[in-house]
Amino acid sequence: MNLYEFEGKQLFEKSGIAIPHGFVIRRGDNVVSKYNEFDIVDVVVKAQVLSGKRGKNNAIRFCSSADEVQQATEELFAMDVRGQYVTAVWVEEKLNIAEEHYMSIVYDTTNKQPVFIYSHEGGMDIEDVMEENVIKIPLDIRDIEWNGGNNLWEDGLREIIKKLWQCFLEHDARIVEINPLVQTRDNKWVAVDAKIALDDDAFFRHGSTNSPQVTNWEEFEPRTMMGRLPTDREIAVKKIDEGEKYYQGTAGKYIEMDGDIACLFMGGGASIANMDALMRVGLKPANYTEYSGNPPREKVYELTKIVLSKPGLRGLWIVGVVSNFTNVKETFLGTIDALDELKPSFPIVIRRDGPFGEEGRKLMQDCAERNNLTMKIFGKEVGMGETAEVLAELVK
């Protein structure tokens, strides 16, 4: 889960990293009274989106009066930033900046450990900084404290580094980035931006049942990286997956898209390859949906219903690999339950095999016959991608 700047800053603050004083504005808030209460004249007004490059996209404004803040807020809420929906606006004090630095900790997949990245040239994308001006220090995740790499830094900076490491560890972060890390004219180090990505797989130790000292991830508002609010269908699919713990994560992916071909894919890797295959034959996906593992029948039933609930569909493609252990019959029964109920009139193409594959396909065939569905079913004798072509023919 990627955090908004204002959420990331809250985590920084908890870790003892200074952030500018500020406040959040939501749609419908009384901006003028909030600004007046804040009682600092010169402020920076920043759109809260999940992507960077806000400065270049006019999503950060400098204001010095209630009227200006009001107007800037209205404008920011009316725009999207590189396709991203503006969830909130963050207003903070404008600092007297002496220097801008860059600092982050991310996982390095080559060393399979975190790496600390620093540059004294902050404020721009780290990719744009010359290699010789970037310092990278490999870290060991087992170090519960880190001294900040010896004598490379002045004391103030080293304190921030230590705290950033604490923040990274404590919050099960995948990424913590401060850019810019500002040194003010009165010699204070302040995190002026915050980019944090949390590891969704660590949710179990950051929920409401954990100790009150732990930041409760359940309190973060729903979000999607698609640059808009999550759709009702996306939220509904998340709900399905919340059920019994043992099966969590087996049926949780649904991304709503612009096309008109409903997709129900099995297997993470295959699903991505099959999205490519679908687009190659000129069809447009209505959604990206994938299940894997052994989701129970009811879960597949609910998932199928949501996939089929989008208006304007012209086809359904159910495609999966020759599974290793997913019970094709059991999972198909969930889809069959949904098809029995909804009886879609558009063509359906299915390709699936694995344990109980033949039985599953037979039941699917029966379902098609009793409901008069236009359906073509294939087993492993036909490749997955080839069946995209079959669907393209039928849809035409």
């Binding site: 997949t109 399979k112 890797g269 492993k380």
Partner: protein, 296 residues
């Protein structure tokens, strides 16, 4: 011959009393793999699928020694770190982490500890691997009749980021009248215990492997390591790669689809990877269905 497993390999299953652990023990035994023991604290002395259960990994080592011992871990994600560390502390030379959704922090912790002891970790989120007619770790290939339909001893090495595609590619190989030397599911996580290049080195040294098929993924930098490996002359056999996720370029940066490791990142997409690999002579399949045709 095969990589990773031999007829002498003895397998222990951590979490054997759980549903998945038991199923895997059955699947391995059915395929003729020598599963010698299972672990579940507090359940020592019980039998699962005819296999004796011990309280700890160390207890098993004390009984059988740890030569040729390989572990497969089937525990819930919150217990994965403890289970991995237990196997590492007992000096098990190869640990297969079948567990999905292990926090990255826990994975990184165990990988650091394993590296110091020169222990091979495969996964997390790996389904396991199979060397036809020699043995398998986990349930790769599925039930007995299905596994024998798909897997047959041969000369093609298979590496896949996806469990389903491990099977699917192996089936393509079989349909083409060829067989597999070893098919490995490396797992879909951001941090991979055993990477593509680790396996390519092993396949290079394996006389029975004449070519390798690899199903990669957008996101991460593991495919780029192959470029260096080939440039350094450490891998010279024919290699066909498919990198899924061209469509992912239409998604916003930072999005996560398919597997945990498949994050949309600029410069690390399917296209960039294909271009880099092509430049060192790797065959790039536009469609995964074309892979076997290109290799034969």
């Amino acid at each position: 011959m095969s990589i990773l497993i031999s007829k002498n390999t003895k397998v222990i299953v951590q979490g054997i009393t759980g549903k998945e652990g038991q199923k895997a023990a059955r699947a391995m035994l059915d395929y003729g793999t020598n599963v010698i023991a299972g672990v579940r604290p507090g359940k020592a002395g019980e039998m699962v699928e005819g296999v004796r259960v011990f309280d700890t990994v160390q207890d098993i080592c004390n009984t059988y020694g740890n030569a040729d011992l390989v572990s497969a871990i089937y525990v819930p994600p919150f217990a994965a770190k403890t289970a991995m560390m237990e196997a590492i502390d007992a000096h098990i030379s190869q640990i297969n982490v079948i567990v999905e959704r292990v926090p990255i922090k826990d994975t990184a912790y165990c990988l650091a500890a394993a590296r110091e002891k020169n222990i091979q970790i495969i996964g997390p989120s790996s389904l396991g691997y199979i060397a036809p007619s020699i043995g398998r770790i986990g349930v790769v290939g599925g039930p007995k009749d299905l596994v024998n339909e798909i897997f047959f001893p041969g000369n093609i090495g298979i590496i896949s980021r996806s469990g389903g595609m491990t099977n699917e590619l192996s089936w393509q190989v079989r349909q083409a009248g060829l067989g597999q030397s070893t098919a490995v599911h490396v797992g879909g996580d951001l941090l991979m215990g055993t990477t593509y290049v680790d396996l390519l080195r092993l396949f290079q040294a394996d006389d029975d492997t004449t070519a390798v098929m690899l199903f990669g993924e957008h996101g991460g930098s593991y495919e780029f390591e192959i470029v260096d490996l080939i440039q350094n002359g450490e891998f010279s056999k024919p290699l066909v790669v498919f990198v899924g996720g061209t469509f992912a370029n239409t998604l916003p940066e930072g999005m996560n689809i398919g597997h945990a490791g498949a994050i949309v990142e600029r410069g690390k997409g399917a296209k960039e990877k294909a271009d880099a690999l092509r430049s060192v002579g790797v065959l790039i399949a536009e469609r995964y269905e074309d892979m076997v045709g290109m290799i034969s």
